[in-house]
């Protein structure tokens, strides 16, 4: 898949100030995340007229509860999202980790590690030091 096409596929998720942050571009995939805010993916979906195709069970992963979704883009196919939240003293962080293909357990672990290195999570750790 052309990079341009991949980016376009991710772009459908973005809405004004909600930034889609690319974590890593791979040969056949792009790992990214989007901050969903308190309303989570449901709000994002509503505001973008997205179709929620399937909801999977929670994936319990190293104390984090990740909920997987598949979003259908009209022209470009599926996008896989994994919703996760982090509780803090000052604020809670709600994000959806995204991929253009379904991830295995180890791939999820890898994406989570990438997210932990992101500016968004670093800021969350600075502001919520007790976490």
């Amino acid at each position: 898949m052309e990079i341009k096409e991949k980016i376009q596929k991710i772009k459908f998720l973005s809405y004004e100030d909600i930034a889609v942050v690319i974590l890593e571009e791979q040969e056949d995939n792009i790992l990214f995340f989007v901050e969903t805010g308190y309303g989570g993916l449901e709000t994002l979906k509503y505001e973008n007229n997205l179709r929620l195709e399937k909801t999977e069970d929670y994936i319990v992963f190293n104390n984090y509860n990740l909920k997987g979704y598949i979003y259908k883009s009209k022209s470009l196919g599926d996008v896989y999202l994994y919703e996760v939240s982090f509780k803090g003293d000052v604020y809670d962080l709600y994000v959806a980790l995204g991929s253009l293909k379904k991830l295995s357990y180890s791939e999820l672990e890898y994406m989570l590690k990438l997210f932990f290195l992101s500016e968004e999570f670093t800021t969350f750790n600075i502001v919520n030091p007790s976490v």
Binding site: D17, E35, G37, Y38, G39, E47, G88, D89, V90, Y91, D92, L93, T123, I126, V127, P129
Partner: protein, 147 residues
């Protein structure tokens, strides 16, 4: 929920007018406030203005973002009126409260102008603060010298 206007025409101007509306009324916000009460306060002001509606036309702002706008305008109000803010230092952070922190043992009085001039604001748009009366968070690099 979106704050909406009749049509796309003049959207930028009306978004500015919306901010002005918040600016002019923000000093009357009930204390203590948090994210929810800030949004509620702003919605009450907006409901009284016929230029704006809710989910009925062209969207100019998400209701959830009203708290950010309210905090920004409150900060501007503090600056222009040269009022004192209350600062709580937590490791490398400077948590800025106005008027006073509700649940805090030790807060220092400071000028908002000084803080803005010397310290880096954390970009926390859209975050729902849990502390009452918390308006912004700055990152300190030399806070020991500052105090």
């Amino acid at each position: 929920m979106f704050i909406t206007i009749e049509n796309e025409k003049n959207a930028e101007e009306l978004k500015g007018q919306l901010r002005l509306l918040i600016n002019r009324s923000i000093e009357n916000v009930l204390i203590p406030f948090n994210n929810e009460t800030l949004i509620q306060f702003c919605l009450e002001q907006i409901k009284q203005d016929k230029r704006f509606s809710f989910d009925k036309g062209f969207p100019i702002l998400r209701a959830a973002e009203l708290a950010d706008m309210a905090r920004e305008e409150l900060e501007w109000h503090i600056l222009t009126k040269k009022k004192t803010v209350f600062v709580v230092v937590q490791k490398d952070l400077l948590k800025v409260f106005y008027p006073y922190p509700v649940s805090c043992e030790r807060a220092f009085e400071f000028s908002m102008h000084t803080i803005r001039q010397n310290y880096q604001r954390l970009k926390l748009n859209g975050k729902i603060f849990k502390d009452f009366n918390l308006i912004s968070i700055f990152l300190l690099t030399n806070y020991k010298n500052f105090l």
